[in-house]
């Protein structure tokens, strides 16, 4: 174990080798995703896949780790900013980036160890989780929201660890038909959503903790699948009603629906 990993040696004698071999996809590379990518680099994750179709803009500079005004002025891809950041932290990291929607490069996810989604929207999350279920990929969802009230605001967020064969985001009550219908009804009217850096940092840090727990468990507590963030009280905790679901299964993604449904006549995807 090298000196740079000395302080995380409690994660296991082989943790450095495991991290070096691991491939994590980070989908959505701004507020939450940039924190996640930075921490993955520090931990020593050897292979990082970055996917985001957007360039840096001025409105991103309040929260995107690694970005600077020049990136926004020059319209640099968000993936490129994070690639630069990761390599500066861990020069040996293998970073692959795609400046498309993840659906256009979905095949690239298939040999990942874990997929992290830092994307907006309920439908989009459900779609990504569905893909991960089909290809037996652990999916960690990170998201935050700022909700206006009459004279105040409430910051909320969640870290959901969705493991194949276990309760999904629908089972957990995070994705509901009502939410999806409301989102579809408001399509095109969303505008710029309020986002700030510190909740993203809290949520991303916990998500990275979940990933490390999946790979090198330093304790025996089962993974809590749904952690909720109360940004006003600055608290994160498990959704208590889900405690009984840890051992449960999922009826939304039957175990037999795995692999490419069209194989061996799969459509070539980038």
């Amino acid at each position: 174990m090298s000196a740079r990993d000395d302080r995380q040696s409690f994660l296991g004698e082989r943790s450095s080798a495991i991290f070096a071999e691991t491939k994590v996809a980070v989908i959505g590379n701004c507020g939450g995703g940039s924190h996640v990518a930075q921490q993955l680099a520090h931990i020593g994750i050897g292979n990082i896949l970055l996917i985001d179709p957007d360039v840096v803009e001025d409105v991103n500079l309040n929260r995107m780790i690694g970005s600077c005004p020049r990136d926004a002025a020059e319209g640099i891809w968000k993936t490129k900013v994070l690639e630069r950041l990761i390599v500066s932290i861990q020069p040996r990291a293998s970073v692959t980036s795609f400046t498309q929607r993840w659906q256009e490069v979905a095949m690239a996810l298939r040999d990942c160890t874990v997929v992290v989604g830092c994307i907006d929207g309920y439908a989009a999350r459900g779609e990504l989780e569905g893909y991960c279920r089909r290809f037996l990929l652990p999916y960690v969802d990170v998201g935050m929201d700022v909700l206006p009230h009459s004279t105040r605001f409430t910051i909320t967020g969640q870290i959901i660890t969705s493991l194949p064969g276990r309760p999904c985001m629908r089972c957990m009550g995070f994705l509901t038909e009502e939410l999806l219908a409301n989102e579809a009804g408001a399509y095109g009217a969303a505008g710029g959503r309020p986002q700030v850096i510190w909740p993203n940092g809290v949520l991303a840090s916990i998500a990275v903790g979940q990933i490390v727990r999946l790979l090198t468990p330093w304790h025996d507590e089962p993974i809590c699948p749904y952690l909720e963030y109360d940004g006003n009280r600055q608290q994160v905790g498990p959704i208590s009603r889900l405690t009984h679901m840890r051992a449960g299964s999922c009826s939304h993604y039957p175990g037999e629906n795995v692999g490419d449904p069209f194989w061996p006549n799969a459509c070539p995807v980038a």
Binding site: R14, A17, I18, A20, E21, M107, A108, R110, D111, T113, V114, R134, F135, L136, L137, P138, L163, P164, G165, R166, L214, L215, P217, P222, I223, S249, G255, E256, N257, V258, G259, D260, P261, W263, P264, A266
Partner: protein
């Protein structure tokens, strides 16, 4: 050729629980895993464990030539399953020890006998065999009946602890 097998820890627990059960006369139990398949980026194949199909008590034959000799009923059932819904099939059994298992002479001989029958009903899918130990595994795939088998390069158990076997990270705890 790069090959990966992905199984959930729940499926692995189910398999071990079945293989743990003693049989009236067979020396060991066996079963079948049906798998989905997908191409991997950059080439190669990944198999995804979909379901486990234990062999029923009555489908074992009392035959001293092998610890578990299967009757025609066992194969008919799994062949019916992949005929109605095409899938890859992995024959699975366990060597009761710790550490990396490997195929015995009997394993190789019997695999070469029965694996080609899977192509009769599901000719486009790879089929093979998986040997478990208490804490590790070894697998082989035949991509075509006439070709030699390909060892499964990496097996990833997905769950509370997501761990790859094979390659550098073959943790066995």
């Amino acid at each position: 050729m790069r090959t990966i097998l992905r199984l959930t820890d729940r499926l692995m627990e189910m398999i071990h629980a079945d293989l743990d059960r003693p049989h009236a006369f067979a020396g060991e139990r066996v079963g079948f895993i049906t798998c989905g398949v997908a191409d991997l980026p950059g080439g190669g194949l990944c198999l995804y464990g979909a379901d486990y199909h234990p062999v029923a008590d009555e489908d074992y034959e009392d035959d001293a030539r092998a610890a578990a000799m299967l009757g025609s009923g066992a194969f008919r059932k799994i062949l019916q399953r992949i005929y109605s819904k095409p899938a890859s099939v992995l024959h699975v059994h366990r060597h009761d020890h710790q550490g990396r298992p490997g195929p015995s002479f009997v394993d190789e001989r019997e695999s070469r006998r029965f694996v080609p029958s899977f192509w009769n009903v599901c000719p486009n899918h790879p089929h093979g065999t998986l040997i478990l130990s208490f804490d590790d595994l070894w697998g082989a795939l035949w991509l075509r009946p006439e070709d030699p088998f390909v060892e499964i390069g990496t097996c990833v158990i997905v769950g509370d602890r997501t761990r790859p076997y094979g390659g550098i990270s073959d943790e066995r705890t």
